[in-house]
């Protein structure tokens, strides 16, 4: 047999030849030192080119810099969504005003109570607001309060009443009225600091970055303060109590297992305090409000300290978990916003 050419050697090494051809080449290469060298060289080229090509797999995600999210909604879309929200909230006010109940609003106002330790200290004691039954004052009264106050300045439409809730809040006396407005307009009641933060946060809906699919759970990623916060919603309604308790306990254990420095690094001021308060077996009033059990803890994901809040939705019984690197106080604020948006979404669904 004559010396096989380079192409045939490669074809042989790639297993592309017939059995007979392969056998013939094998026999020849054994006899021919020249071809044995050529085969060795070809093996080297095959291995080296594979290795070189592997280096290409780290290709950048190209033309668009990675730091920016790939697809963004037009700001116009957000503006439209925000206007729709205002209109929907306005409708809600009117509808709730007609009903004498206003239970959901009261509950939502209740849920706010534990979120603002600073606010409660400077305004009304938590117990009086949550427990005294002021919160379950019939809805018309609740909503009439801001209306009356504003009426002194100028008669306003419903939408107007909702929109400027933020500027109005810091000046407003520490009464129940702005609190009751919260689930519908903006979480601007109470402490001026919180109001300012929320103003910066914007009245627009939370920015949803992605909703990755996960079996058995609804996952939503929000962009907050330039960081990502994950909301996981899971659990069938009937099991929610069990699931909540379990997850709360797990969270406690997890938190206990964390090295101390982790806790200190992640949320220097807020976390250790609130954590104790919320997970303790016999907590003071704020821990379980309006049928909502919640837990607040630290966890680590990918080696980073994460704050975790778990609570269960009183209406659907779903277990909701908020996870993010932002301080837990911020997570609490976010929780309020999410609950508000959920309440609004539910209200839109069931007019």
């Amino acid at each position: 047999m004559q010396h096989p050419d380079e192409g045939t050697i490669h074809a042989w090494l790639d297993g592309a030849l017939s059995v007979e051809e392969a056998a013939a080449i094998e026999a020849h290469v054994k006899e021919c030192p020249e071809c044995a060298t050529a085969v060795a060289e070809a093996r080297g080229f095959i291995a080296a080119s594979s290795r070189i090509l592997t280096a290409l797999d780290n290709a950048p995600r190209g033309v668009i810099p990675t730091a920016r999210p790939r697809k963004r909604f037009d700001p116009l879309v957000w503006r439209i969504a925000a206007s729709l929200l205002v209109v929907a909230a306005g409708t809600l006010v009117v509808v709730r005003n007609r009903e004498a109940g206003g239970r959901a609003d009261a509950a939502a106002a209740d849920s706010l109570a534990p979120m603002r330790p600073g606010a409660s200290a400077s305004t009304v004691p938590v117990t009086s607001r949550v427990g005294s039954g002021q919160a379950v004052v019939p809805a018309p009264k609740v909503f009439d309060l801001p209306a009356q106050r504003q009426a002194a300045v100028a008669p306003k439409k419903v939408e107007d009443r909702l929109a400027p809730a933020v500027p109005a809040a810091p000046a407003a006396p520490a009464t129940l009225a702005p609190m009751a407005m919260v689930p519908l307009a903006s979480p601007a009641a109470g402490a001026a600091g919180a109001a300012a933060r929320d103003r910066a946060f914007g009245a627009a809906p939370l920015r949803i970055v992605a909703t990755p699919r996960r079996i058995g759970a609804k996952v939503t990623l929000y962009e907050v303060d330039g960081d990502t916060v994950t909301l996981t919603e899971s659990g069938p309604p009937l099991e929610s109590v069990v699931v909540t308790g379990l997850s709360a306990r797990q969270a406690t254990e997890k938190a206990a297992a964390q090295p101390k420095r982790m806790a200190a690094a992640a949320a220097p001021a807020a976390a250790p305090d609130t954590q104790e308060r919320r997970v303790a077996p016999a907590p003071p009033a704020p821990a379980v409000v309006g049928g909502q059990a919640e837990s607040n803890s630290l966890a680590t994901i990918n080696g980073q300290a994460m704050n975790v809040i778990t609570w269960s939705d009183a209406k659907t019984g779903a277990t909701l978990t908020l996870t993010g690197r932002i301080p837990s106080a911020r997570l609490e604020q976010l929780k309020i916003r999410i609950e508000r948006e959920r309440a609004e979404a539910a209200a839109r669904k069931e007019p």
Partner: protein, 172 residues
């Protein structure tokens, strides 16, 4: 109709890798791969799936490159600039970045047919599939591959030597 979900599960990873190596851009590669599967959806039957998919993907790249090569060239330049300023998602050592850049140059230096044949072979296509996808005779695939491999390795090694020489000069 073709079972696109199965096709996707079976071939997407290889196709995206092939296209990423060919294009040097993961986003673009994923786009082209998706378009390829969309085309497969319209197909009533495909005899050799892998060869068909790689051929269609290759043609899409070719068509697109022809259609807006100027725009792409401009974007590629911008991307190159960005790459300098960009923080890599994973920690890339300088060494690895240099290897990637030399590999890119060496692959770009190949003739298009040699490059495609080699990239397809790396994704496990056999000689008949490569011949079908690139409209070559099966007998010439070995020659094409041997040439592609030799040239790739040789130009990579020469780039490596240049770099070493430069580093030596810089050090002295």
């Amino acid at each position: 109709m073709t079972d696109v979900e199965r096709l996707f599960r079976t071939y997407n990873a290889a196709l995206v890798r092939y296209l990423t190596r060919r294009l040097g851009d993961r986003d673009w590669a994923e786009e082209v791969a998706q378009e390829t599967f969309v085309r497969a959806l319209r197909q009533t039957s495909i005899t050799n799936e892998r060869a068909w998919l790689f051929a269609v993907a290759t043609n899409l790249v070719r068509d697109e490159a022809r259609k807006d090569s100027r725009r792409r060239k401009h974007l590629a330049l911008l991307a190159e600039e960005e790459r300098g300023a960009m923080v890599e998602p994973e920690e890339t050592t300088l060494e690895r970045a240099q290897e990637a850049s030399m590999a890119r140059k060496a692959v770009d230096a190949l003739a298009e047919r040699d490059r495609l044949a080699l990239l397809m072979r790396e994704e496990g296509l056999d000689y008949n599939e490569i011949a079908e996808a690139l409209e070559l005779s099966p007998g010439s695939v070995g020659t094409t591959l041997s040439r592609a491999r030799r040239r790739l390795v040789e130009s990579y090694e020469s780039l490596q030597q240049d770099r070493e020489a430069r580093e030596k000069n810089a050090a002295s």
